[in-house]
Each structure stands twice: as structure tokens, then as C-alpha cells.
Symmetry: C2
Subunit: 274 residues, 2 copies
């Protein structure tokens, strides 16, 4: 069953980091209604086996389907690495993940054929971006760099000043040595450090290096996809609405949501069981 163009977009993530994708979607699709689900009770997915991740992702996606969404955007790198095909088959609904758009943008941007991925240890270890890039271009080399400090820094709101800058510099060094000229931010938390990463990358590797934010790229692809299927929300006066579901509402919920969404007006989170 495909809902019409007035139906909302569904977005889910293992936690709240995926709100950076919502932020990017709202920037390019201001009239879309969005239903977001964060599986905060079971975050992080990165340490679970693939079968478990597929199961959890199915539960999240079915919850979104119950809100009659027209398309699902997976805002989680771990889920995007293992579950999109299965979800497309099970739900008979368009499902977009974050990895392919990021990989595509990197392949388009690189001139040296050397692409860097900045992500969590789990995503780097899964080689998901490496597979996605080499599927698109066998001549492109991928250099993964785990950046474990950036998630706790983002969750604590420590996104400015000397500490995140020193951390970013440390993680960029191996990529600079590898000679990459495109760097994909392969974790939903990292857009919070976009300016620092871009500044440091330019300082270390020259002004040619491109930093690719996978939230922005998946938002752009979602827009193109909806347009191609005539699924864009009709132009209307009001801005798109937003509903926010979470399987657990942590103590720092609204503060974190505000930070990731870049918006002071956070809707009340509705807690649900999956």
C-alpha cells in the first residue's frame, strides 16, 4: 500500500542522532510532515548482530507504517548497512538509507580517487561504506577512520572549543596522510562538528578537500526521489509538522533533541513500546 503525496515521511534511528537527518530534510523539504521514531531504549545498535538489527529495524519501520508514511528514511548507519533491502521487500514501501547517498556523493566529489570515511568503530568495522563506494566505482580507494570520541562529545553538547577541535585533528591526520580529497561523515552525530571538521580538513589537506555530510546527502536524495515519484507534499502555507516518538525518554531527551534538530521548538516526545 503506497500512501499519497500528502502522507508524512517516516524517519527512524536507533536513537536521537537521526534528528540531524530530520534537520536536513526540513531544510530541503519544508512542507513535508515528518514522523520520527528513535529506538532510544535499545540504542546503540552498533554492538548487535546483523539479525538483531534487522529485527529491530523491522519493528521500527512497521511502527512508522502504522502512521501511513509514504516513504521511510533510515537515519542510522548501522541499519542502513544491513536492513534496507529486507525492509523494502517486507513493507512494499520505498526505503532510503544514509550510506548509498554518502558513498555516491564521495565518488562524485573525489578527483584523486581516495575517499575517507569518518564513522563509529562499528560502522568502520562493518565496511559498509567501502562496499557501497566500490560498488559505484572500483577505482576509488576507501580509508576508514573510527572517531569514537565524537559521539559522547555530541551527546554531551561539547561541540565547540579546544577539545572537539583536538579530537577532530587527531582523527583527520591518518586521512590526510592517506591523501584523501573527500571525507564522508558516516555517523548521524557528526554533522554537529561539520564546521570544525571542514576547517581542520582545509587547514590540513588544502581547500580542495570536500567534507560530505551524509544527513544532507540523504535529504537531497529523498527530495529527488519524492519528486520523481510525484510524492512531494503539495505547496501549502503551513510548514510541515513533526511528531516525535521514542521507545524510552532519557533524562536529557529534550536537550539532546534540540541540539540534534538545531531547533528550539521540539515537539513533546511520545513514548511507545515496540
Amino acid at each position: 500500500m503506497r500512501a499519497g503525496n500528502e502522507a508524512p515521511l517516516g524517519v527512524f534511528d536507533s536513537g536521537l542522532g537521526g534528528l540531524t537527518v530530520v534537520r536536513a530534510l526540513r531544510a530541503v523539504l519544508p512542507h513535508e510532515d515528518i514522523v520520527y521514531l528513535g529506538d532510544t531504549a535499545r540504542v546503540p545498535y552498533g554492538t548487535r548482530g546483523a539479525a538483531t538489527v534487522v529485527k529491530y529495524a523491522g519493528a521500527c519501520a512497521r511502527q512508522l507504517v502504522s502512521h501511513k508514511v509514504k516513504t521511510i528514511v533510515i537515519a542510522c548507519n548501522t541499519v542502513s548497512a544491513v536492513a534496507p533491502e529486507q525492509l523494502r521487500i517486507d513493507l512494499d514501501l520505498p526505503v532510503l538509507g544514509v550510506i548509498e547517498p554518502g558513498a555516491r556523493a564521495a565518488v562524485a566529489a573525489t578527483k584523486t580517487g581516495r575517499v575517507g570515511i569518518l564513522a563509529t568503530p562499528g560502522t568502520i568495522f562493518s565496511q559498509a561504506y567501502t562496499r557501497a563506494v566500490t560498488t559505484l566505482s572500483t577505482r576509488t580507494e576507501v580509508f576508514g577512520q573510527a572517531a569514537p570520541l565524537l559521539v559522547p562529545l555530541a551527546e554531551e553538547g561539547w561541540v565547540e572549543g579546544e577539545v572537539p577541535r583536538l579530537a577532530v585533528r587527531r582523527y583527520l591526520e591518518p586521512l590526510a596522510r592517506a591523501g584523501v580529497d573527500a571525507i564522508v561523515l558516516g555517523c548521524t552525530h557528526y554533522p554537529l562538528f561539520f564546521s570544525i571538521i571542514e576547517e581542520e580538513a582545509h587547514a590540513m589537506m588544502g581547500p580542495e578537500v570536500r567534507v560530505i555530510d551524509s544527513a544532507t546527502t540523504v535529504a537531497a536524495e529523498t527530495r529527488s526521489f519524492l519528486a520523481s515519484r510525484s510524492l512531494l507534499a503539495p505547496p501549502r502555507e503551513r510548514a510541515g509538522s513533526m511528531r516525535l516518538f521514542a521507545t524510552d525518554v532519557p533524562r536529557s531527551f529534550s536537550e539532546m533533541a534540540r541540539r540534534f534538530l538545531g531547533d528550539e521548538n521540539i515537539p513533546e516526545a511520545e513514548q511507545i513500546d515496540l
Copy 2:
């Protein structure tokens, strides 16, 4: 079945952080043979439910029992919070956890009756130290402070310089405001920052403040316990041996093991399934 005093000590943890406890044990019990098991394939336990943690802990403990250990030291805060009683009953073997010794040392050290706990968000949320302290002394107030950056910093070996120092300072600030005069390091990774934490605590709260490393306190209690049961290894010429088991051998294994153990001579890790 209790093994004799020549039997080894068994130590387990969800990962490699528990090697800081082994380091502390070797300092006060140089003649003990030690068998260490790190459940590295399932680390971290902190995000699992209590029933799962008890199940995993049982599997780890039974593995140690198969090596005929005389006593088990749980070097994991998450397991120490939920599993010791059950393990003592199931195994009919002495089982020591890290939480009670740390809580006891804090209650003994504080003069203001205000104790700070520095730990992972999971441990703080579990209130395990609060329960342990208030069981010992209802007049002692406990202030928990999550310090999420310290684990990735320790695992990356980033244990010196400006970044860990700024992180430590940030985490100590709320404890300084609360007026604590004893601070328990409630995570196996934190002893790597002991000097920085102590320096910063003295600078912020005065020279009276005591920093309590739960690895050192559990090692001291293990020594007293073995002595009281006549279970100390007999004096002998050779130093105690060490065997190291892990359920997964991560790429950075030997480097991390060396760091946590504070010893260049790491035995080869033996990989086992549980």
C-alpha cells in the same frame, strides 16, 4: 568445591578494562596465578538488561571455574551491580565485586559525608554505588557524575595531555560544587587517568579530597579475604603466572591489554567461545 591455596585467582570483565584490576591484584599479590577472561565479543554489558548480564556473567564465571580457580573477582561494575549474589549461590565459590570495596573505602574516607562517584552513564543510572554506600552509612550522601568521554579516551590511549585534562575538569566541576571530599573511580578504565583526576581534584577541591580507585580497593579486599581464609598462594621464588582469555580478539588487543595492564609483557590471548 573450593580449590586450595595454590589454585589461581579468576578475574573476569565484559572487556579488557578489567585488566586494571589484574594490575592492582599483581601489585599486592605478586605470587598469585591469575586467569583473566574478557568477554570482548559481547562488550559492553552496560546497555543490556539485568537478566542478560546475569546470564553472561554466569557463563564467564563457569569458564573460570573450569580452570579450578579458588576465588572469582568480578572486575566489571555492571556485573558487580547485579550478579555477585547469584554467582556465589550457583558456584559455591567466593565472589568479590568492585562496587562494595569502593563504596566502603569512600565511606571510610569522607569527613563531610558527601561522596562523589565518577562512572559510566550506565553505572550512574543503575544507582549501584548509591545503594552500596547508603547500605553502609545512611548519613552519607552520594553524587553521581557520568564521565562518558573517559572510556573512549582510555581505549584510544589518549590518557595524557590537554584533552583528558579538560574532560576530567569538566566532570569534576559538579562534584566540586556538591562539596564532596571523596571520589570513587567507578569504572575499570578510569585508573588510567588517576594522576590527572587526583591533580585536578586537589586543585579544585583542596588537598583533603581523596580519590579512590576501585581497582586498588578490590585488590586490597581480595588480599585480606584470601588471608582470612588461608587461601594466599604460598611464598615462592617465581612471580605469579597469568593466562588471558577473550571471547573475541579485537585488532587493537595487545596494545589495549598492555595499556590497561601497565606491563609490556602481555601473554598471548587465547580465544574461546562461551
